[in-house]
Symmetry: none
Subunit: 257 residues, 2 copies
DNA sequence: TTTTAACTTGCAAAAACGTGCAGAATATTG
DNA sequence: CAATATTCTGCACGTTTTTGCAAGTTAAAA
C-alpha cells in the first residue's frame, strides 16, 4: 500500500482514527510499512490518539476503545426491572392482527416474552430468541435467516437484509446502542446497523425501545434519524427526552423505581 | 478461525473472557491452535483471567466461574439422562473444521449444547435453539430462516428447503420421529419431513440420533431409507438394532443406566 | 499399577516499549 | 529573502513484556 501524498502526523492520525472507528485494529508494524515511516513514528501517532481517547493502546498497536458490546446471552440472564418495565409498556402498542417486525436485543426479547397470544398476528425477526418467545405464545412467526452475529445473537448479512426487505410490517420494534436527539439512532456493529435500517424501511411505523443510559450517546454506525422514528419507549426523565419531542416523536414514558 | 491481527495477551484475554461470559468453556489445547501460540501462553492467559475472577481454571482449560442461571435456550430442554448420553456420544463425531447441518429436536439441542468450541467449523440449522447453543460455543453459525413450525420449533417451508439446498455439509444430524429397519426414517409433520430430506441431500454423511423408543415404528411422512443413513447413534439394545446393521449403517451404541 | 497428559517453575531469546538526542523538514518572524 | 523557532523523524540504548522451551511434579486415565 502506498503512503498518502501528505504524510503528516495529522493526516496519518485521521486515517488511523477512521480505521479504529470502523472497528479495525492498528498494527504498528504493518502501518510503518504502509506509511513508509519507522515504527516509532506510528507509535507516537497511536500515543496521541490514545491521549485523545480514541483508541486503547496494546502491545503491537491499538484496538478500538469502545468495549465490544457484551454478547446477548450474558445480557439475557440478568433480570432487569427497568428493562421489563419498558417491555411491559411496549406490549401495549401491539394488537392482534398486526404484522410485527422485531430487531434483536435483550429488551426486545423481554418484550417478546410478554406478548399476549395473538393468533392473527405475525412476528417477523432474525433473532432466534425472539422467534422462540413468540412461538411459545402461539403467534405465527417467520424467522429470518442469515449469518449469526456473535455480538447481537441475531442473524445479519446481505441475505438477512434482503429477506426483511420482502416484508411489509405494521410496526417494528428497534433496540438502540445509542440514541441522540440530533443524529438519531446508532448501532455498534455494521451488520446490525444494516439490519436495523432495513427493518425501519419495511415498517409502516417505527418504535424504538431503550433505557435511559443509551440516550445522548452515539455509537459507530448510523441507522436512522429521529424524524424517521415514530415512537420512543424509554424510562428516561421527561427532562432528558424533551429534545426528542421537538423532533416529532411520540414519547411513552416509564417511571421505574 | 485465524488469529487476530494483534495477538496480545490483552486482546486474547478479552476474547476469551467474552466466550466464557457467553457460557462457553476454554480448551487450552484448541485455543493454542486457534491463536497460533503455545499452550503455555494460553495457560498464562487463563491464569490472569482467573486472577481477575472471570473463570475457574480446570484441567485442560477453564469454565465459567459463576453457575449462571440457565439461559433461555437450555430451558427449552428438560434434562434427560438417556438423551444426554446420546448427545455426548454424537459429539465425538464432530471435529473442528467440519460443516455441520442440524435438524431440530430436543436431542439435537442437547447435542449442540455439548459441542466444544470449534472456531473453524460452521453450524447450519433452521432451529433457533440450536443456533443459539452453537453461537454460545463461539462456533460460526448460519441460521436458516422460514416459517416457524409450532410442532418442531424450527423453520420450515419452501424457502427453508431452498436455503438448505445451497449448503454443502460434511455431516448432518437428524432427529427421528420414527425409524424402521425396512422403511427408514419418518417424520410426523409434512414440512419437517421436507426439511429433513433436504438436509440429507445436502450432507456428505448422514447421522441419525434417536432414543430406542422411536425404533420400529413408522410415522406419517417418509424421509429417507436406511441405505442413505451412514450412522445411527442410539441407546437401544444390540438385539433391537441388529436389523439395521444389515442395511449398512454404522452403529454407535450408548448403554444408559 | 502404569502411562499419558497437563501443570509448575525457571530461564533465555525475541519483540516491543520508553527516553533522549540530533538532524531534517516545516513554519514563523524579522 | 534570510534567520530563527518549532515540529517531525529516525536512531541508539536500556528496560520491560511476552513467549517458547525444558526439567521436574502432579493429576487423571487406562
Amino acid at each position: 500500500m502506498t503512503p498518502p501524498e501528505l504524510n503528516n502526523p495529522v493526516v496519518r492520525q485521521s486515517i488511523l482514527r477512521q480505521r479504529v472507528e470502523a472497528g479495525g485494529t492498528l498494527v504498528a508494524r504493518s502501518l510503518a510499512t504502509e506509511f513508509d515511516v519507522s515504527p516509532d513514528t506510528i507509535r507516537r501517532d497511536i500515543l496521541t490518539l490514545e491521549e485523545t481517547g480514541y483508541v486503547q493502546r496494546v502491545r503491537g498497536g491499538a484496538v478500538p476503545l469502545v468495549a465490544r458490546p457484551t454478547p446477548i446471552f450474558s445480557r439475557l440472564v440478568t433480570e432487569n426491572p427497568s428493562r421489563d418495565a419498558l417491555a411491559e409498556k411496549a406490549v401495549g402498542l401491539t394488537a392482534d392482527g398486526m404484522v410485527l417486525l422485531f430487531d434483536g436485543g435483550s429488551t426486545l426479547i423481554s418484550l417478546a416474552q410478554k406478548l399476549p397470544t395473538m393468533p392473527n398476528s405475525l412476528v417477523v425477526t432474525s433473532s432466534p430468541a425472539i422467534a422462540l418467545a413468540s412461538l411459545a405464545k402461539a403467534i405465527p412467526t417467520v424467522l429470518i435467516g442469515g449469518r449469526m452475529s456473535i455480538a447481537g445473537g441475531l442473524a445479519v448479512g446481505a441475505e438477512t437484509v434482503k429477506a426483511i426487505s420482502q416484508i411489509s410490517a405494521d410496526l417494528c420494534f428497534l433496540g438502540a446502542c445509542a440514541l441522540d436527539p440530533e443524529s438519531g439512532l446508532w448501532a455498534d456493529d455494521f451488520d446490525e446497523a444494516a439490519v436495523k435500517t432495513q427493518i425501519c424501511a419495511s415498517s409502516a411505523r417505527v418504535c424504538v425501545v431503550t433505557t435511559s443510559e443509551k440516550l445522548g450517546r452515539s455509537a459507530r454506525h448510523h441507522v436512522i434519524g429521529c424524524k424517521d422514528i415514530d415512537l420512543l419507549v424509554t424510562d428516561a426523565t421527561h427532562q432528558a427526552v424533551c429534545a426528542f419531542e421537538t423532533e416529532g416523536l411520540e414519547l411513552l414514558h416509564v417511571y421505574s423505581a
